[in-house]
Symmetry: C2
Subunit: 226 residues, 2 copies
DNA sequence: GCCAAACTGTCATACAATGACACTTGTCGT
DNA sequence: ACGACAAGTGTCATTGTATGACAGTTTGGC
């Protein structure tokens, strides 16, 4: 392995450029994610062991845990990326917009982008994760835990945008929780809908969910026209 | 151990009465819960091992897992009981009430009852569980998973009340998710509030959260009066 | 080329959770 | 009262997740 690569430059030319070590680390990380999803798709989340994932990439399972905090973590990388994108998108919304509107447009925008593969990962991966969650309690739990942690952060962002103190004002908490709420409600229905009719884009369902929430939820009980 | 107890009756007098075996089982179960909470309160959830809980009651850890599916499970017994009470309370609401109103009153009613110790368990236990969740990710995850599963069931109850099909109508999903949403938002704020000002009853916060949700969440962003 | 830092593998270990099997105890019929 | 059967429990073994310690290797900076 001599310096046959064209970019090899003995004099440290670009101090920002990630070195070979960094690149290798990144490759290992992505290889682990790829291998994990391949195995998950094949055998399911619970039936796949960390050792199998590590073996597929030819590293020790100890190394796996140096890249990911848990087996759930490797499956939730996309959720993590989506959240980061969400915070940016929310910050980019014009300040005249009411918070719920900003939130709604930010989320729906992110989800549409994700469905088009514009967020740096294949859309199938996210779908795959949603499917896996149906069959694995531990993955569902991990996802919810992750989302809850993010909700706490979102609350601060929203409180700031509203100019109120989250320690004494319930509203930012409710708005942040609403994001989770809309997402979970939509995911549940999309899943149920798939079994009977067919696929529906999650982003559309989430948009609808926000519409319902903004409407105030005032639905009558069944008229009992027996 | 001869029949010195006054209730010993050779002729099976009451076929409904739970036998000694059943009573002993119940006692073991409650002893495990008691021991678990004592240890949790003392050392925290994560730092407490199943073996310690089992030892405190003088049973094997294998037996612990015959009573509870997981270490989280023993801490979530109250959450389980609250949910059962909620479903009953919801069913008892008059059919003229809009679903969101029925839900709100059912939940707030249950939580007030819980705070008064009218649900068969000490209110401190529930408070304790909420505290433990702040420090334990696995317990938080378990709680959220449990709540999510219950939400799915709630969705069906609500869909039924609304007279719609949950596979094609998003609204019952959103209403059910709203329950979780209101609860989590309130729990987060109550916790934050406690650190700065003091205690506030969770039931009141939840009631407020519903009011906010029913209002449609239309809050302006900060006026920027710089 | 050399040194220090970063990365990895190989132990060892703790804990959660489950299956298998034997043993004890409660329940029920006679 | 006795015995058969079922329920409950303990012991042992095993799998899988996760973490700490330590040594060996690779990489980047000098």
């Amino acid at each position: 392995m001599t310096a046959t690569a064209p970019e090899a430059d003995p004099a440290g030319r670009d101090p920002q450029a990630p070195g070979r070590r960094e690149r290798k680390k990144q490759r290992t990380r992505e290889a682990l994610i790829d291998a994990a999803f391949e195995l998950f798709a094949e055998k399911g989340f619970d039936a796949t062991t960390v050792e199998e994932i590590a073996d597929a990439v030819d590293v020790s399972s100890r190394t796996f845990f140096r890249y990911f905090a848990s087996k759930e973590d490797v499956a939730l990388t996309f959720q993590e990326e989506q959240f980061h994108a969400l915070v940016s998108a929310l910050a980019a919304r014009p300040p005249e917009e009411p918070v719920i509107t900003a939130m709604r447009r930010a989320i729906v925008g992110i989800m549409r982008a994700a469905e088009r593969g514009e967020l740096g990962f294949a859309p199938e991966r996210f779908d795959c994760m949603m499917m896996l969650m149906q069959d694995s309690n531990s993955l569902l739990a991990g996802s919810l835990e992750h989302a809850q942690k993010k909700q706490t952060m979102l609350t601060r962002v929203i409180a700031c945008r509203m100019g109120v103190d989250p320690a004494v004002d319930l509203r930012p908490h409710v708005v942040a929780a609403t994001a989770n709420c809309a997402f979970r409600a939509s995911a549940d229905m999309v899943q149920e809908y798939r079994d009977t009719c067919g696929d529906i884009p999650l982003s559309e369902a989430v948009d609808q969910a926000f519409a319902i929430l903004e409407g105030g939820l005032n639905f009558p009980s069944v008229p009992r026209g027996d």
